[in-house]
């Protein structure tokens, strides 16, 4: 890569050495550089968690809000300024647990954002409790008899709701992840990229080795336009885990009817006092 990386920040991430989050950060930086965007044109929104600290470690706009609430905030920011390239980065607990309701409705709303979930199948920041994606049987202090709640399948849900772009990656596959993020950014509408991310401190089951032995890249035999096939791939878990684009389904985005790409963003619109005065006059 020859382009200057304006997104690289000198700040030192407070992540554990070896954490999968480092790989994701570097893939996001590369994808943004490749997209040709400048730092002031991008906004990264997050919730709370280890993953959600990412906006602090990259040189661009950030909104590090509340646990589980990244998607609504991202929606608001995109509506206020549709020229912004909006990404959301957060953990599986944040997006699928605390923010599960917003996850569903953000997909339905189809706002043009790219959601990157650092899926480490555990709560990192609060030191090892099961997350919605923890595998059955995982023992933690809060699940002493092992997880008995069926894992949440974000990909299957996203496909059901006809998300525009549904992909999975593995943080160690940096170049591959970069490509997926780039494509997510390019795709108008809601893109989900669920990235398997080893938590070296607390998840002793789903390790680098565990993922490496299982992930395989989807090849051209997989047709992302085929919803049934996408479903099948989304439920493949265990011995073999597919990574790549599972599903694509283009549709109108939330703001398409309200803004053309070149239009003034919402926040720059003038207050239409004449209209307000005529509304007042209609009260007579």
């Amino acid at each position: 890569m020859t382009q200057e990386n304006l997104f690289h920040s000198s700040g030192k991430p407070a992540w554990c050495p070896g954490c999968g989050d480092f790989g994701i950060l570097s893939s996001i930086e590369d994808a943004l550089v490749n997209s040709g965007k400048k730092p002031h044109e991008v906004l990264i929104v997050s919730g709370i968690g280890q993953a959600a600290k990412l906006p602090h470690y990259i040189n661009t706009n950030g909104f590090a809000g509340l646990h589980g609430r990244a998607l609504p905030a991202a929606f608001g920011a995109k509506a206020a300024n549709h020229h912004l390239q909006v990404l959301v980065t957060s953990g599986d607990g944040d997006i699928y647990g605390e923010g599960g309701n917003h996850f569903i409705h953000a997909i339905r709303r189809n706002i043009d954002i790219t959601l990157i979930v650092h899926n480490n199948q555990i709560y990192g920041l609060t030191k090892r409790q099961a997350s919605p994606t923890s595998d059955l049987g995982m023992v933690t202090k809060t699940q002493p008899n092992g997880v008995s709640t069926i894992p949440f399948n974000p990909l299957a849900i996203a496909i059901t709701l006809d998300a525009v772009f549904v992909a999975r990656s593995f943080s160690q596959e940096k170049a591959f992840t970069t490509q997926l993020i780039e494509e997510g950014i390019r795709t108008p509408g809601f893109s989900l990229i669920d990235i398997l991310q080893p938590c070296v401190s607390f998840n002793t089951i789903n390790t680098y080795k565990w993922y490496s032995e299982r992930v395989y890249k989807l090849d051209s035999s997989h047709d992302p336009a085929d919803k049934l096939q996408a479903y099948e791939k989304s439920s493949e878990w265990g011995d073999k885990i597919p990574i790549g684009i599972l599903y694509k389904s283009a549709r109108k985005t939330f703001l398409d009817d309200q803004f053309k790409p070149k239009d003034l963003p919402l926040f720059k619109r003038k207050t239409r006092m004449k209209e307000i005065i005529s509304l007042i006059n209609e009260l007579y």
């Binding site: 590090a64 608001g76 917003h102 209209e275």
Partner: protein, 570 residues
Amino acid sequence: MSFDLTIMIAGEAGQGLNTLSSILLKMLAQSGYHLFASQDYMSRIRGGHNFTKIRVSNKPLYSSVSASHLLVALNQESVDLHLNHLSSPSIIVHDLDTVQVNKTGEICDIAAPIRKIAVDSGNALYGNSVVLGILTALLKLELTGLTDILKASFVKKAAKDRKGNIKAATEGFRYLSDNFQNLNIPLGRVKEKNRMLISGTESIALGMMAGGLRFISAYPMSPSTGIFTYITSKAGRLGIVSEQAEDEIAACNMAMGASAAGARSAVTTSGGGLSLMCEGISLSGMAEIPLVIINMQRPGPATGFPTRTAQEDLDLVLHIGHGEFPRFIFAPGTAEEAFYTSIKAMNLAEKYQVPVFILGDQHLADSYVTLDRLNANKVKYKSYLAENGALKKPYLRYKITRSGVSPLAHYGQDKIHFIVDSHIHTEDGHISEEMNVAKKMVEKRFRKLNGMKKEFSGPQYYGPKNAKTLFVSWGSTYGAVRETIDCLLAEKKSVAMVHYNKIWPFPVEESIEILKSRKDICVVENNYQGQFERLLQRETNIKTGKPVLRYDGRPFDVQFIIDMFEKRQK
């Protein structure tokens, strides 16, 4: 000659009560009368008992009165429920066949063949037009005024229905003119023509829009829904983006995302929804994101009385959001005050980068009042966003300043980028665990109070200067208290009132100045605990007398306040 007449229109949901009363209101407003109309309705779509009270006068009105002079009873229940609350003499208008009145006292019983006239005009559903015709004749209004409104409101309906309704109205008018020629109704003429008719809902919505609202997100909840739907219906015209969120948590966080990106944003809700916004409001406090929260109160706790009124959320709004941060709270008393306050709220949220609350209630939201005019330029929209040229580089989103207010940039500004954060953060928005950073940031945020205290003047005073007894109102109790003062002054009592619209930061010095030498202070509010009274005592250290409280979901009226006040004197 002054006059003051109350018309009650009562029936069940689904009988077209709303259309009937809004057409009558429109006719009266166009004829130049001063009006005050309040609604009492149940939380159901069909059945139940609902009524609208319309008070008509030649002087400005601020509240409802308990007794009605004219009852329009659309069903039997309306007679049964209200017969004993009519003034003497009074008039009842009802259908001859379906509603019976057992006359007691001085009642003029207008048992009109409403249904029959409607059927003869083409359809039993035209009954309310017959009623409108009858009322037009009874109130000595112009028939053409009515037929013009009917024409306009049926413009999208089939020609048959338009004509049928007009015929029904004309026949109703004729029926009354022919049969009750000598009936005298205490309604004089007024000189002015054409007054504006506005509800609290409309005035808050218009104020928010005049204050530069760009983005609104909400989840429906009575009695706030009307504001959200009104703004949404005008959103295209005004270039506003409006979105119904999946819940109030989302609504609040959406508004904050939009606000951080530079768009003036607000949410509308009621108590239950506000409870869900608690954490979001705290984020607005920490990340210093401008946010206007319109909370229209109804009785609680929990689901409470969905369609009734209360002032029970003051304590909640004073404290909502964990941690400490400055905020503004306003509680406008009238539709007029609500309009100007809403504009101001939008400006102040951005000027100080704090959450601003408007505490309204069902009574304010659903009451209609006539006004001479609203001056959309009296409180001007002003932007506090810093444009590129005004920003020093490197830009610090949370720059420590003497005023506590940091220059406000927005995302997307050329060559500038920044982060807002919910943690304790440094001037550049990054997470910090340093005790000194925490201390400095807390102090910076609270320094804003110095400026905030000067915004918006203190309480309003009404009545003779040295009155012994001082009534205190806040929010929508203003109207009933003000009329109580007029009433007691006419009886030569030594009374006056103070009204609080600006509630927080509390106007401490101004309050002490007014309250200190009073013999008796009587707070009037729609809750059980006397929430405002306690606030007043806490902030001023001045002892108040027994408050007048109401917590049955109904608004105050003069009679209620005077009865309670007299009991209290004994």
